[in-house]
Symmetry: C2
């Protein structure tokens, strides 16, 4: 059995944790860029991108897990002179997506940074993992969708993540892929199963968002055990990320 | 029971791991600066120092562990324009030591960076955690001692770490503190006990070096269980680091 956890922060997990995930079938994962304090410099995120594409996959291999990387600027980690990070990403390779990006509060700066990153992903023709926040999820999602529209972002390249039961419909109706994050504080296994039953498994992709905080590393496995669906825990991720 | 692990890389451990350590008595630790790829920029190490003094202690609190920080430039992580990192450290506060610093191969650049960091620690009157490498430990220790001599580094501020059975004597005879790292590939619990029995517990300080690689998080607890010595697993660390 190979399950894919499409949104983790492997940096927050020990190598023993990654092995525990792999031994429970989660043999592939995508680790997403995030810096747990607001960085003072764009260079920090450039070295982070190098760390995520060089060191974390190596640590994954030691644990029996194939780790792919998403690099970019999370809305809570916008450094000064952030365009430098984007210039680096454009010149770089070895990652499968831009992410995680998105809006947290929806400030002008956040919207500008998201827009620039979506334009870059479109230009590079690679997927974007787009975060939605815990607070004001529906209102912030609306602002996010406006930016996707404004840059005519290709639907097949957008994974809008951390959906609630209430946001899945609009994401799928707009033609995007919808991430369902099974984690305390986000979706329970039961809610995720309900979403799959109600909306079908065509463009749903599961993840745990496990990382720096206490979290359930085996969430994707538990979802698989509960519903037996192969698309949401593997096949859709293979297709969307080409992994 | 409170044990102190004086050399960890908490970044490589999940919050659940830190709680596991705390629940086993390791309620205080010092997390040491290290970047797992060679950083391309000094700014990366400046933000790392901020992360180690802001975010990691907060993560420790959530796990029931008091985390203190050592900041500096590890010999495997020397960025270009490294003096900028030292200028930042001099202007900064909230850390208990410069570390980990030291020599890995003993190159001219490594020696220059170590010397500058020792001069800074001396000027600031704070302890330095000084790494010794796995390879050529005795020869590299000799070069390290030469630099300590050259800057007239105060003996009571130097903790020379990762000693082998063969290096403890010279470190103690020179008047420095000696770190004993209990970890597969470094010292076994039995070897550490032997060192304590042979050299006394006056200036020995235990640690695990647990971090990014697979490692025994409970090493300091196991040493305590094996020998019952309170100085090596707590009291000496309180005195040396003033924690």
């Amino acid at each position: 059995m190979t399950l894919i956890d499409t949104h983790i922060h492997s940096e927050g997990r020990s190598v023993e944790d990654l092995r525990h995930m792999a031994e429970n079938g989660i043999k592939k994962a995508i680790t997403c860029a995030f810096y747990p304090i607001r960085p003072g410099f764009p260079e920090t995120l450039i070295d982070l991108a190098r760390k995520l594409t060089e060191f974390e996959p190596e640590r994954g291999r030691k644990a029996g897990m194939e780790i792919h990387s998403a690099i970019g600027i999370h809305p809570r980690c916008i450094p000064p002179d952030w365009q430098r990070v984007l210039d680096f990403i454009e010149s770089y390779s070895g990652y499968v997506a831009i992410g995680e990006v998105g809006l947290e509060d929806g400030s002008d700066e956040e919207r500008e940074v998201l827009k620039a990153q979506l334009q870059l992903a479109k230009k590079l023709d690679i997927p974007a993992i787009i975060h939605t926040p815990r607070k004001n999820k529906e209102a912030i999602l609306e602002k996010t969708l406006e930016i996707l529209d404004a840059v005519s972002f290709p639907e097949e390249l957008a994974l809008i993540d951390h959906n609630s039961v209430g946001t899945v419909r609009v994401v799928l109706e707009k033609g995007y892929w919808a991430g369902i994050t099974v984690q305390p504080g986000k979706l329970s296994v039961g809610e995720a199963v309900m979403i799959i039953e109600e909306f079908g498994d065509d463009r749903l992709i599961a993840n745990s968002d496990t990382g720096f905080s206490e979290s359930d590393m085996l969430a994707v496995r538990k979802l698989h055990d509960a519903c037996g669906n192969e698309r949401v825990v593997r096949k859709n991720a293979e297709r969307f990320f080409k992994i």
